[in-house]
């Protein structure tokens, strides 16, 4: 029987290794897998490459990993925010590398990674600092830049409800980067509010099919007799 549920976040993130590439869903605090991030701060893996849209927006986001000196490289579109001071300090002493990507390019690089496309041309960032040094090609009379796909060793995503197989339903704009990041990692770990039995989710509403989800953690205490551990 398929069991993707982990007892707690600590067990779900235990095997994340030093040097791993980690995709983190969310847009600011919305759809942010903050419990998984907190568990990774405890776990302590270092030299991580972290791919996430916002870095400094909230204190319990990727900023917590930066403050704990676990990150060697950030790929994001919007590093600015009230919790960006530790990032700025580490940029100034060159202990962290920052790669800024236009938000749509970031989403598409991850989508491409999950879809088996190694690179693609986009008109976004042509003739700008963010397009510098990239291969270019003219299509339909317009300059395009070649962008490389992104894949992760792990992805942290947040969903609203999941079933035992790992199908996921989101709540409103909590969806954001979560479905696309789920497709692009070897191991996708989802924190959700509720886990239900297979068949209970409306198949028309499933935004992340179970094929993309490897581990599930429910954030509230599980009812007696339903705690299932998967090693």
């Amino acid at each position: 029987m398929i069991q993707k549920r982990f007892e707690n976040t600590a067990k779900a993130v235990a095997d994340i290794h030093d040097g791993a590439t980690l995709l983190v869903g969310g847009f600011g605090g919305s759809g942010l897998p903050s419990h998984l991030i907190a568990a990774l701060v405890e776990q302590g893996a270092k030299n991580l490459t972290v791919v996430s849209n916002n870095i400094g927006a909230v204190s319990d986001g990727v900023a917590a990993l930066i403050s704990n000196n676990q990150v060697k490289k950030i790929i994001c579109s919007f590093p600015v925010g009230p919790h960006a001071d530790d990032l700025i300090a580490r940029l100034q002493n060159s202990t962290i590398e920052l790669e800024i990507a236009p938000q749509g390019t970031l989403a598409e690089r991850i989508r491409a990674g999950g879809a088996g496309i190694p690179a693609f041309y986009t008109p976004t960032a042509a003739y700008t600092e963010l397009g510098e040094g990239k291969e270019t090609r003219v299509y339909n009379g317009r300059l395009h830049v070649l962008e490389q796909a992104i894949t992760g060793d792990f992805a942290f995503i947040k969903g609203h409800r999941a079933d035992r197989w790992g199908n996921i339903v989101y709540n409103k704009t909590q969806r954001n980067f979560n479905p696309v990041m789920a497709t692009a990692a070897k191991i996708t770990i989802a924190e959700v509010d509720e886990i239900v039995e297979v068949g209970e989710l409306d198949p028309e509403n499933i935004a992340t099919p179970s094929i993309y989800v490897h581990r599930l953690v429910k954030m509230e205490a599980a009812p007696e007799g339903r705690v299932l551990v998967n090693g």
Binding site: G28, I100, P102, Q103, G104, P123, T128, N176
Partner: protein, 230 residues
């Protein structure tokens, strides 16, 4: 440069209303962070404009009543909003397929600088170690029309210039500039003033602008308006 600037022209909400006036029934429109966000609150009654937000929704509605905020229902500025009937949710990659794929009728954006050729600088000031590109570069290459909605000057310095000195968001992408002082079109013949805000003369506008302006005078209504103000 010109101290009196805040005392003439449109207020922020009047400026947002002036932009909203030009959005057409049935358009899909993205609003940037800052003054452009105000446009959502002033869309004329009876006009159906469907607002898009980068973080994956169509049908953005006004701010919720106090106590009704839902942190899973936010706009691109991460502020709580509401969803209008007919609205829907989708992922970030679908959201940018809409943007880059040319499906938006217009994007209303802020700016640090805009050149007389319509080059836009809006994501990074030279002294900023970080930069904040967000969706701006995708919107500027993808939306059918790029409208800027901004203060005419920043700390007394003109934001409309001959050439941008800040890092570009995209070259030659801006169609129209709405400021607290005027409505200005970017054309092949340069910057053409379509409308002056109340109390603003063409001469004053030119003093606040670091690129040559032309007056559009063929339209009777507009030339009347200009005559009154001059």
């Amino acid at each position: 440069m010109v101290k009196e600037e805040q005392k003439v022209g449109w207020s922020k909400i009047e400026l947002a209303s002036r932009v909203a006036q030009d959005l057409e029934d049935g358009w899909f429109v993205n609003l940037g962070i800052g003054i452009p966000t105000l446009v959502a609150d002033v869309i004329p009654e009876g006009k159906e404009i469907i607002l898009h937000s980068e973080n994956g929704l169509l049908g953005l509605g006004p701010k919720p009543e106090p106590g009704q905020e839902d942190m899973d229902l936010v706009n691109a500025g991460k502020e709580p909003i509401t969803l209008k009937p007919g609205g829907c949710f989708f992922s970030q990659s679908d959201s940018f397929a809409m943007i880059r794929g040319g499906h938006l009728d217009a994007a209303v954006l802020g700016a640090f600088q805009v050149s007389e050729h319509g080059d836009l600088a809006s994501w990074k000031v030279p002294s900023d170690p970080l930069g904040r590109v967000g969706g701006a570069m995708d919107l500027t290459v993808g939306a059918k029309r790029i409208f800027l909605c901004m203060q005419h000057t920043s700390k007394g310095k003109p934001k409309i210039v001959e050439e941008c000195t800040y890092p570009l968001t995209a070259p030659r992408c801006v169609d129209r500039i709405y400021t607290n002082l005027a409505v200005i079109d970017v054309t092949d013949e340069g910057l053409v003033v379509q409308e002056l805000a109340p109390g603003v003369s063409f001469q004053y506008l030119q003093e606040c602008t670091a690129a040559p302006l032309k007056l559009h005078v063929s339209d009777e209504r507009q030339s009347d308006a200009l005559g009154v103000q001059q």
